[in-house]
Every structure is written in structure tokens, then in C-alpha cells.
Symmetry: D2
Subunit: 340 residues, 4 copies
């Protein structure tokens, strides 16, 4: 393994540490690797070393190229300095993708506490968006003012270009109220963004990997807290694709759960989204009427459950009325409707 | 193991099946067992057998007495019939606690989909509240109208007497929108109720235990979905206490995360709660001023972060300013303030 | 779930308890189930209830039909009474395979301590051999005399028809010396029988599933001991095949690791086995000479490592010299050599 | 993390790479760390990079200082060169214990395949014995001649000063016969050495950590193989002690399972060991006779089971006859008997 340290901003003491693993040779099939950029916490006042190197190790073990950003802190932290640091680091990593043997479009960011705020900002308001974000007991809403008055809430910034997110935290976090995670999830749900979330029953703020070499053993916390490490690696495999004979495989999970925010209408849009468009609504209503008249019993069930059905994707409704084969024809017709 | 089937309502075809394990003898120390009541799903139209027996097994393996309620369905399901069935079943279990060798105050309920709605109703609006509730891909909000028009949302019903909850679901659930879980968590957070929650990246509705004997193997779903089973058992151990030499041990996790809704003020109330009371606010402000004048540097930090501090418990603020030993004296003074 | 209790021998108080799960309906694809027969321990003096019902539960959860045999004990235990009890039980299960919805050729046996001896005897010397055997801290050698003087060692009884075995035990077992497991494995290796084995660093005899409701919590034992339960289920899936859309799938692991004891020679025999036959040895030597003369460098490496190569399968040698495509032609020639 | 590379022997191209983690500061309580020395495999012909860095990562994540030894290979590998390399490396690590912030008496060695042979040799015949050894699909017996003719079997070298061992391998290893592991365990058992062992049902030779970035995904192997990594870390915690508030805690598991090879007799010797000494045998026989005459029923059971009892520790026999309180008095008397 090779270590490189790049100074990004001497004045503000910003550095990027790279832990780079080899490719090829005995690492059969591995010609490039996915990457992860670590943003340690520390209330924008200091850099929590517990959330730097110890976090790097499990991702290295999982085959990643790993980077640690030590961003602007304390007097240098006035917003948007830390976000600019992130943007610069991500640009550097993407630009060096070939030299550093990594996939430029498979770079995750992971942040803890205030670093989790920065990761949330990276996911929602940066120039160089990451491809996935892991948010550990993150300050995501207005509570961030408690550490950095100039920093904005990330919850309102969630948009349909936000990358998939993995959130974890403790229900009894004694510093960052759990509402930060809940409200961020609500925003992700609104925009159809993929996410996974684990809120553990109890435990303190700032447990890092919760390994016994880091989190004092007498700490009272849920026995499941250390699971987030392997779970986040499993999740990244689903979002980026696992290592396969011809590079990373096709991801098992898509970045968005429906097509509501895509450029054109498809059967993977929700009924709610389609029904808001006059032409699409007419198409669907005509189709359902026709079916109902032709005696399809399932459609009757569906029309009677408008409330539930509105939130389903058209494809799921088709499966429900046992007409999955209609997807293609409907897709063609929907494609002709202009989306505004 | 002994099996009993009790008919609760012949007309509505409501039965309670009991799987009862022995105590004493070689089961050294085990004189009573915790219990769990299973509420299978099925859209209030049918009883999903995949969510009945197969769910019983892991809890039996973990030492529980297990019950399955087959509640009012279809034409018999008009609300509040199912909730009345639940109430009757829980009353019967509690009344038979001695005969059935179980702890009357350590009875969880677990429900799936529409059964998860019933479990949510049990937790929030029943006469005989359970001691913990596990809500599996549950319909918790107004979406319940899609299966049973007369059934109410449980989200608005959450109150400070709601039992601790464990929620799990798939982000891409194609029938029950993920907002059901997110909004229920928001309501639990508002009332300071303990909970744990796992939202997995992707997978269909209705996976039950996700064992390969139940969920067809070709199903595309997150590799972490089957974890909910053991995780829920671990969570119950934290809420009820694990088996120990003198019966169940003291639970590791409390049912509420703070004392805001208790009968009197304590240092385990949030600052926000205390500051709303004039006398308590005066007490705290006087104390902080005094400390600040005495040169305590940490208190300065605290007063400058009012926003963050308001959501913390007074005890955590005391720890933060390194005066944990003041908890007792403050508790005494707070106890004298009348709570309205 | 249906429970049946069959009395096998009234005089000797031998019973078979059946826990039978449903098939079809919502258990899509499941038309039959694999089965497991539990043989609790108790030094052939009593029946350890800790090793009866609590062991049934995890296999039920994994989709098995489960049986518990309460065999001849104490004064009734004179050998071969317990083995006869086993044989009768297995015959009954196989005969009822259709009625009980189970695969007659996918029936495992699991035994603990003295019950592990009986399971070992079932695997090696019974009339109705099981299809797999799980041996928990089992008395397998002459040490069995310590509980039942008339009982034989099973180690010398291992033969090439012995079923695949899964062994687990504690290195510091204070009753059954670890040599029992080691020597049994040695015998399995000699006959090319598939097995898996987990010897945990420390822990007492008789921990059963090691669940906290069974094994007193203050017990000092390796944190990995409870893993045997899920590991044995994973192993059974590999030996029997996992549930799939058309019944149990093709097993991932074969019952024997080579073809040395099969009716005819193949490239899956070890070199050692083949070289003992004059005709096979000539075939291989001629072939190697020819290759060497044709300049194949790898073969030179192989002939110089006779010691190591003798223990390899011919197929692995072919892969090593990068001539895997020769397997078919050699198989044809080997098939013509008569095996004595 | 700091990386150092030390050249141990320029001529033979022997190097020691050190990955060193910080102590103190935020790593509260961690003033020193346990360490592990990695010996990659490669048939004593090349260094398998798959078994170097990727193995380092999980132990770094668990808080270890990690070293990789690239020992003498190919033409330089004539025995005992590799063993001398090991001895030099271990001496260097122990000598630098203070500078490198590690416990000089908590240094494990881990080796794979031929590196597993070297680790086995380190454990049994080196000058600077390690404190624990992890042996991965290791060549331990005469089969080592297949890679290095001059290298000795380690099985016969096992002695009572051999350190605790953790073995793992695949039953169907196509290069190293499973007998290597079985016979090594037999030797460890003979000398009362602590060990843990996992033999997985099937899989190829050389799987390293079995991570998907290392072991091609299409590899057919037991789903449990990757477990060895976390299991070995759990085992090391039991042998070395876990991180605690005052440094590493007291180990949960002792290095030997009885006192048979200690300097003096104790109740933790096996009956077999004690009965071989005339004076000890007389002491025990007199004591048993006395007890039997006093009507102790349990002792009768014991004397009738001489075979089993011989392998038990005297302490376990005392527990069995319900006289644990006699341990102290017997220890005093045994201490006066001279051990030859």
C-alpha cells in the first residue's frame, strides 16, 4: 500500500491523505477500485482522529482506495470553506482517477458528526457531487449552528440529484437530536432518492467504528452499533456493484426508486406523478376504463384504492392487475407525452 | 413444547394459538419467560401464513412464549374489531401469565404490513398496551385506508405512553410507501419514546423472515434484510432484560429517552422542557450565571450554543461542563418545582 | 405447525416427537421439506431437555421438518438398544416421507454428547444411514465406555459410506476429551468423506445452542460458540441444496471429496489411488512421459513433487499443468480399467 | 498511520514492513497495542501479495500494530533461512516494542500455505516464539517437501512451549491435504496447548481473506470461509485480552488447558498425569477410599468410570463429586510432591 499526503490549502492547513492499493497481478480482475473519502468529525473545531485512520481500515480491507480530508477548522471554518475544501479534494481525486487506479464515478464520501454535515452538504450542494454518501450520527439540520454558525442546514438542500445515502445513528445521541436523521430521510423520500438507514436503540454520540480499541469498553450502547461498518460496505456493493471478472458488476440497487424526476415519463413513474399530467392522466384513465369494461376484476380493486395506488409505480400496478406485459406498450405511449 | 388454540370469537373466526415452553428443571434460572404476540399481515383481507409460524420459531429459539393472533378479517374487519381482538388476546395472555409461565409486563407485539398497522394501533391506542412493538413494513399512516377504509392512522395517535418500537422495512417497498415508517419515527421522537429502526436499501413488500424457505430465492433484495430477525431479538433483550441467574436482568435501555413526560422535573429532562417552566428556567439561569461569574469556561461555550443545548438533557449539559456531580443537588431543587 | 408423538417402544419408553410444517399455498415452491432428527444427550442415563426442543426451533425456522427421538436410557440402554431405536425412527420417517411432506433422502441427524455418540453410530454403523450428521461435543471414541460400557467406539466404524459430518466442540470440554473429535475427523479424511468442523477455544461441556435462555450467562465460554447453530444450517444447505423454485437445488458440496471409493476410476480419484493400480499407473506414466518429451514445463515441476502430487486429484494435476481439457479423454480411458 | 520498511537481509531480499498506529490522545486508554506479524504464502517460491496487505487491514481495524515479513524465497529459501528471517524479525519487533508502542508479549504470527508452515515452525521450533499463531491452510507435515525439500515437518516439533494456535482451512483444499491440520491439532492436544480450529466444508487452496476484491466471485466455496477473519480477531482478544481502561485486560482463555506440563502438580492436572506419579496416586486413592467409606455416592460413580475420569482434570472431578471446596487443600498436598 502506498501513502500520499497532498496539501490542498497551506494557509488553512487542509490536507488530503491517500491510501492506495495495487491493482492487477495477483489481484486478478481488479484493474480499478472504487474509492471513499473520509470526513472526520470534531464540531468544525478539531479533527477527530478516531474518525480518520480507524475508519479507513475496513474500506481498505474491502478493496477500496481510501482518502482522508482534513478540512478547514476553527477560525478557518467559516462557511463555505469546508465545502470548498471538499470540492477541491473530490476534483483532485476524479482528475487522478487513472493514476490512482480508481473509478471516477464510484467515489463515496463518509462523514461523522460535523463531518457528517459536510458529507451531507457534499451530497446536496457541492459542485462535485459524490456517488454515494455515508452519514454517521450527522448534524444535518439547523442544529449545525451549534457548532458552526455560518453553516447551512442540508435538509432543505436535498434535491433530485442528491446521491444515494446510508445513515446511521443512535436514538439516544446526547449531542445531535435524532430528528436530524429522520428529517433528512423525509427529504430523500420526497425526491425518490435511494437510501438505507439504521437507527440503533441507544448509545452515545461519536462512537466511530465502535471497535473496543476506540470506544471505551464500559460504554453503554446497543450491541448492534458496530454492525454499521460491514453494513455500509454491503450497501456500497449494492450501489456501486461488487468486484467481478470484468470490473465492478452492474449495481443491484438503483440511485433513485422511481422515474418521477427523469426527463421523460415511464411506467416506473408513480401514479401520482403521472396523474398530475393531463395527457398521461387521460391515457391511464382511458386504459383503466377499457380494462374495467372488459371485465378485469383486479382493476376494480385498484380504482377503489386510489389513495394507496397513487403512491405506487405504474409498473407495480400493472403487476398487481396481472398485466406486466403491458409495460412496453404503455412506455411507448408515455414517451410521446411531453414532460413540463 | 405445548400448543394451545383458544377461540376468542367464534363468529368472527378469531383464534389465539399459544406455543408454550417449559420452565425450571434443566432450564436453570428460567422460572418465567418473556412473551411475544404475532399479528400476521394480509391487508385485513386474509391471514398471511408466511408471517405466522415461521415468525414464531426464532422467538421460541430465543426463549420466548409465543402467541399468534388470527384477528377479524374481510367482512369482519370493520374497525375497531381487529383492535378489540388484540385487546382481548392481550388481556387473556396477561391473565394467564402465571399458568403460562410468562412475565405479564414483558409482552411484545409484532406485526407485518396490515398486521403492522394493528401492532401500531396496539402500541398507541389500545386499552392493554404491549410492552414493546415490532413493526414490519407496516402501514402506519393514512395509507391504511387502501386496505381497510375504516381503519385510522396510528401516527397521530402516538403519545407519551406509547411503548418502545422496533421498525424495519425496505426503502423500495412497492406497496407501503416508506413515509409510513419515517413519519411514525418522527412522532416517536416528538414524545421521547425509545425506538430502533432499520430501513434496508431495496426489496419487495412482504418478505417475512426472508428465509430461503419463505422468500423465493430469485427475489432481488438487500443482503441485510434477514438481519432484522436477530436484531429484533437483541433489541428485545435490551428493552426487557436478558435471562440472568435471578430472572430477567435490568434492561439496558429505558422505554423513554428523557424525563420530559414524567410526573416531575429531573436532570434527565431536556433543557427545552425545563426552560418552558418559569421556575425551572430561573433556577438554571441563576446557576449558569453563577458558574460563569466563577470563571467556568465551559459554561460560556454552552450559553453561546443555546440552539444545540436546548435539545440536550440537563444531565448531558452537566457532563459537558464537567460538573456531573451537581446532578443530585439540581434534582432535589427541580423536584420542588410543580409541573403543570 | 402440527405436533405428533409416536411411541416406538412402550417398554423402553422410546418416543418420536414430530414438528411438522405446512407446504404449498403461500409457501410458494415448497412442496417438500428437508428433515432433521434430534438425539439429545444425557450420558445414556437421562434425556437432556436443553438439547431437545430448543434445538428444534432454529431448524424449524430454516424450513425443516423436525423430529426428536427419546431413545432407550439407563437400564434400557444396553447396546444396541439405542441404535435400534434410531434405526426404527429413521425407517418410520422415511416411510412417512410423503405424508409428512419431506425428502426421504435429505434427512440429517443431530446429536449432543452421548446423543452425539448415537448420531456418530447412526452415521457409521446403522442400517438406515442418515444423509448428514451433526455431532455436538460428541463422545465418539472409547471414552463412551465412561457413560455406557456396552457402547462401541464409532471412530473405527467410519467407512466410505459414512455420510457427511459437521462437528463442533469446545477445546476445553471438561468431560469429553477433544481427541474424540480430532480422531473422528482423521477417520473421515481417510475415507474421503466431506465434513466441516469447528473447535472453539474454550467453554464447558453441554452448552446446547448456547442461547442465554439455556446456558447460564455467567458461563465462561468463547463468544463464537453460538455460531454453530447458523453455521450448521448453512452447511446443511450446501449438502442438501437450498430451497429453490423447483424444490431443493443441486447441492453445492458433494458427499465425498474424491472418487477413490467409487465403482470406477475417474480423474477425480487421487493420484495415490490411481497409481496403486498397475494399468492406471501405466496410463498416467506414459501420458506424463509423452508430455514431458513434448516440452511441457509444468509437468517437470509435477514429477519432481511426487510426494505432494500423490495426494492431489488427477483433475487438479491437470489444472495445474494447464491441460484441464484432457479430463474427458482420460476419463474415458480410466473407465475401461477394471477396479478391484 | 506510519509506514516503515526495514531491510533485514539485503542479499536474500528480506524486508519487514511496519504499519504503525498512534496511541494516546483520542485513543483513550490505548497506550500500547498488541501486534501481528504476517507471513504470506507462495510455496517458498514467491510472495503472495494477496496474503500481505489485504490481511493487514482487518487487524489494523482491530487496533493492532501490523508487520509483514517478506522472507527468503526461491534459491534463498534453503532451510533454515526463512526461519532465521522470522527469528530476526521477531527479535527486532520485541526490541522496538517501546518505540513502536506495542506489547512485547502480545505478538501473534499469521501465515498462509507455505507461510503457514513458517508460522507453524515459528510456533514450535524458533528461538523467539510468538505469543499466538494463526495457521491458514498451512502445510504443516511432511507435505512441505512438495514446496521446499529442505523444510521439516512441524507436527513432530510441537512441544509444551508451543503457543496457542488458531487453524483454518478448507476440507477440499486441492493442494494441501486436510490431514496437515488434523495431525497438527492432534499434536497440540497431546501437549495440552490451547487452540481453535475451523475446517470449512469446501473451497480452494489460497483464498486469503476471501473478500470479493481478492477471491474471484465465481469461486465455489463455503459461505462461511470469510468468517475466519473476524473469528481470528475474536480469538486473539481471548488469548491476549481485549482493550480495557487500564491496557489489555486479563485474557479470557489460558495458553494451556491443564497444568500437566507445569513445574508442579495442581488440581488442574489431569488424573492421568497425577496417577502416573506414585505419591500423587497414593494421595488420590486414599482420598477416594476415605470418601467412599464416608458414603459419598458420587465418588462411587467416578471410580466406576476410571477410563473417562483419567482424562479429566482433578478440579473437574472435584466439581463432579460436588466437593469443589477441597481444591485448596489438595493443591497444598500436591505441591509437596516432587515432579520428575
Amino acid at each position: 500500500m502506498k501513502t500520499e499526503v497532498v496539501t490542498l490549502n497551506k494557509e488553512r492547513n487542509v490536507t488530503l491523505t491517500a491510501y492506495l492499493q495495487g491493482v492487477g497481478g495477483e489481484f486478478r480482475y481488479v484493474t480499478k477500485r472504487p474509492a471513499i473519502l473520509i470526513l472526520p468529525g470534531g464540531a468544525y473545531q478539531f479533527c477527530s482522529e478516531r474518525e480518520a485512520d480507524p475508519v479507513a481500515m475496513p474500506y481498505l480491507a474491502a478493496g477500496y482506495q481510501v482518502f482522508i480530508l482534513r478540512y478547514s477548522l476553527g477560525e478557518n471554518a467559516a462557511w463555505p470553506n469546508p465545502l470548498n475544501d471538499y470540492d477541491e479534494a473530490m476534483a483532485l481525486i476524479r482528475n487522478n482517477a487513472e493514476e490512482w487506479n480508481l473509478y471516477a464515478d464510484k467515489i463515496a464520501v463518509i462523514g461523522f458528526s460535523a463531518g457528517g454535515h459536510l458529507a451531507g452538504a457534499a451530497a446536496t450542494m457541492s459542485k462535485n457531487r459524490p456517488n454515494a454518501a455515508i452519514l454517521g450520527y450527522a448534524v444535518l439540520g439547523e442544529d449545525v449552528k451549534g457548532c458552526l454558525l455560518s453553516a447551512p442546514s442540508t435538509i432543505e438542500a436535498v434535491d433530485y440529484q442528491t446521491c444515494p445515502c446510508f445513515l446511521f445513528s443512535s436514538r439516544t445521541d446526547n449531542l445531535v437530536p435524532i430528528q436530524n436523521s429522520i428529517e433528512f430521510m423525509g427529504a430523500l423520500a420526497k425526491y425518490g432518492i435511494s437510501f438505507e438507514s439504521h437507527i440503533y436503540s441507544f448509545g452515545p454520540h461519536g462512537f466511530s467504528t465502535a471497535d473496543s480499541s476506540i470506544q471505551p469498553k464500559e460504554t453503554k450502547m446497543s450491541a448492534r452499533i458496530p454492525d454499521w461498518v460491514e453494513d455500509s460496505i454491503g450497501w456500497l456493493k449494492e450501489m456501486f456493484g461488487d468486484f467481478g471478472p470484468a470490473g465492478l458488476e452492474v449495481p443491484a440497487c438503483k440511485a433513485r426508486v422511481n422515474d418521477d424526476f427523469e426527463a421523460q415519463y415511464t411506467v416506473d413513474c408513480t401514479m401520482e406523478c403521472l396523474m398530475k399530467n393531463e395527457a398521461a392522466a387521460k391515457l391511464l384513465n382511458d386504459w383503466m376504463t377499457e380494462l374495467e369494461q372488459s371485465g378485469n376484476e383486479m382493476v376494480k380493486g385498484v380504482s377503489g384504492k386510489a389513495h394507496l395506488v397513487l403512491k405506487m409505480k405504474l409498473r407495480d400496478v400493472l403487476n398487481f392487475v396481472r398485466l406486466p406485459q403491458m409495460a412496453e406498450a404503455l412506455n411507448e405511449k408515455l414517451a410521446q407525452i411531453e414532460k413540463k
